[in-house]
Symmetry: C2
Subunit: 455 residues, 2 copies
């Protein structure tokens, strides 16, 4: 019976999983430092809550059904359930369901698997992990939250071994006001065309804009706006220099300037105002975010989001929100898949405690218990084999130290000894006091350096 992987449902080997755990730990820790509590929502939502949400036509929903349907009780008739395809739809539902128990503005982070029945390809999976932060308020949401989100993300990426990640920020009101200011009425249609800039280039975008009814001059103005990108506040003057006036444009420039200013203050070099960033502008109404991994721009955005005026609504109350989502599996799938990240060992164990003979296993176990009591992960050797064989057991897993309990040292004296199997150094040690160097305590995540786009 040959077992083969299921396309789109990737799994990691233990050392790769250690890399993933490191990413998830850094993400969670940073989210928590910024005061975002965790929530988890169930994997399923009623299908009618999933269908038609999320905007992308290619999102494919997985329904679930019980294989043994015949004995369904009355509680099973409540409607078909499907696996969630993102964490925003479930979060919106959670807010509505629990509004009476939450304090607003409500901030949360959520790190969970999601499922999409898309055609799998490199970096696109059917099961993948996302890590989201959102802030949601009742009625109105203060604009400073739009500046806060990318600062959290910048800190996450500063702490992760991914190289330089740039957060591209725009505000939907800028193109909207600009287009209205030059007499274009079909804002959404124009945005959809301009959004293709990276794919088809300015000449084809201009042709499509003209085809859609804009004058050549309007099309040039749209392209001039989309070309503006600055790490500082100079984008404001560059937009002004295009000579377009509209109150919505003013609002957008002020709002984007506030976000970029917060970035300059708190995360210099992490944010860039990039006026071609559009995103699914059906539901985003203010700031929008995308990211680029420097040197790997062609991989696209690993983290994106924006502001919604109506994240959720129960008919009476509207909940505006702003959020960003990190595509953890996508990022890791590419970095690990391309061999750019690896772990120094395939186990958390820092020490392998050797076993002299099966009768003295209890002695080795006591050593391990002492080490663990002081936070040192370890494992007792599975067999009282020759020490060379026990050392190879550690070597194969990348465990850096082997501990020889009493009378087992090379010198035949009675005390414990510990060997760094990388250097071969072996020293006397006591399980109650010995400490490994800080960098050996946990597996290290190793980045294979490269500066070119390998995609």
């Amino acid at each position: 019976m040959k077992i083969t992987p299921i396309s789109g449902f990737p799994e990691f080997l233990p050392a790769q999983r250690i890399v993933e755990q490191h990413f998830l730990d850094v993400i969670r820790e940073t989210f928590e430092l910024h005061g975002f509590p965790s929530i988890e929502t169930r994997a399923v939502e009623p299908v009618d809550r999933l269908v038609g949400k999320g905007g992308d036509a290619d999102k494919e929903i997985y329904g679930i059904h019980r294989l043994a349907r015949d004995d369904d009780g009355p509680e099973d008739r409540s409607g078909e359930l499907g696996l969630h395809f993102d964490l925003t739809v479930p979060f919106a539902r959670y807010v509505l369901e629990n509004a009476g128990h939450l304090s607003f503005p409500f901030r949360r982070h959520q790190i969970q698997k999601v499922w999409r029945g898309e055609r799998p390809q490199e970096g696109r999976y059917r099961e993948f992990t996302q890590a989201d932060i959102d802030v949601v308020d009742v009625g109105e949401l203060a604009p400073h939250f739009e500046a806060e989100m990318p600062l959290v993300i910048a800190e996450v990426f500063r702490k992760l071994p991914v190289g330089r990640m740039v957060i591209q920020v725009n505000n939907r009101k800028i193109p909207e006001g600009f287009y209205l200011g030059i007499g274009i009425e079909d804002v959404a249609g124009t945005l959809r065309i301009v959004d293709k800039l990276d794919k088809i280039g300015p000449a084809k975008v201009k042709a499509q804009l003209v085809e859609a009814g804009q004058t050549a001059e309007q099309a040039d103005q749209c392209l001039a706006l989309a070309a503006i990108r600055s790490e500082d506040l100079s984008f404001v003057d560059r937009v002004r220099a295009l000579g377009v006036q509209h109150p919505t444009l003013d609002d957008g420039l002020d709002a984007l300037a506030a976000v970029i200013r917060a970035g300059l203050d708190n995360a210099p070099g992490a944010l860039v105002a990039d006026l071609k960033i559009a995103r699914g502008l059906d539901y985003y109404t203010g700031t929008v975010y995308e990211t680029q991994l420097v040197g790997f721009e062609s991989w696209g955005s690993f983290c994106s989001g924006g502001r919604y005026d109506s994240l959720a609504s129960d008919g009476k109350t509207t909940y505006p929100g702003v959020g960003i989502s990190i595509g953890v599996s996508r990022l890791l799938g590419l970095l690990i898949g391309k061999g750019l990240l690896t772990a120094s060992r395939s186990t958390p164990a820092c020490v392998l405690v050797a076993v002299n003979d099966e009768e003295s296993r209890a002695l080795s176990t006591r050593v391990a218990t002492e080490l663990r009591a002081r936070g040192i992960p370890c494992e007792v050797a599975p067999k009282p084999a020759k020490f060379g064989k026990q050392i190879r057991y550690a070597e194969r897993r990348g465990i850096p130290y082997v501990w020889f309990p009493g009378a087992a040292g090379d010198d035949g004296e009675g005390g414990d000894q510990v060997k760094d199997i990388r250097s071969g150094d072996q020293v006397d040690a006591a399980a109650t006091t010995w400490e490994p160097p800080e960098q050996d305590l946990r597996p290290q995540i190793l980045r294979v350096e490269t500066t070119t786009d390998q995609s």
Copy 2:
């Protein structure tokens, strides 16, 4: 549009989720201290791999299907997929699939959601989290692993605020050898009846044994064996005193004695030899484990497992294993549901940095950045409201400290101040040096003490 929970798919509020995170963190940390690396498997397995595995007839499998089936590509015909109902079946498959990349004996932990379409009831869910450890080897598995498993679990429960958890251990060879020794041939059938002891009592068990063809004397012997329970090694003499001889019984007693001895050495009081413990004896072949929460025995076992001679097999190679699974959701659902556990706050934030006015928000953000750089989780107040209102914002979330940036202190002087809003104490402080007391840094998990069974 009224939103109601879906029966069997529970969700936690943020403070409850903090309790769950603490449990999951302690479990993972302890598993890692014992050298168990993490793996995660995909949520789905081919349905034909799920059906007929796992033994319990009432395990209901959820299949998944794409709502948009019409455009299925060829890669979708590869067979129906279902959500896994435990972590053992996927682990066995993972071992077979990756055997060439794993080093044996292979230890792993796995903490994931699983799904069962069972009728939901208190403590029984359709979506729930399990935390498993297993060791698997090729061909043969050394018996000391059967002693190691409960030591790991004992350490987990010692660190969790659940009160005293007792791990009940038996070895399948004891009843098997004993029954054979007194002339009972239907070992499995006898075990199934004896297993009902806690539910129907000894009189009815005896009646059923006699009905099944055993003599009254054999039935009494079975009951005498099942009544033996000891925290030390005295169970061996008590079994011997029943006067039954069989080599399989000898093997079982030796093996169980080794497990109990390791418990006495390393986790005194945590293990008990309990000869009535049976568990799904179709696949367990050696040591079996269950647990009891002292004072809440009627809630049943929150953690169980045992040894399999054939955890996985590819026809040529057999992989014996031993493992235990903690029913995290079941344990938390009951402890949180009964109000026995709560968190000291509903957010990771230890400090709320107040905002004097919207213009000086950048100042407050810089304070927060300083605090975070030293690992202190904090949040900046959402509005420059009156300080009383900002304090109430912290109070509602249980955030213990409010920070007043420069010139905001009650005394009108220029320095920063921090207020413990529980005591009202307010002191001068600098964001670059101030430290909260250790116990305030993270949310505390509070146990409401009780000694009686409230189920």
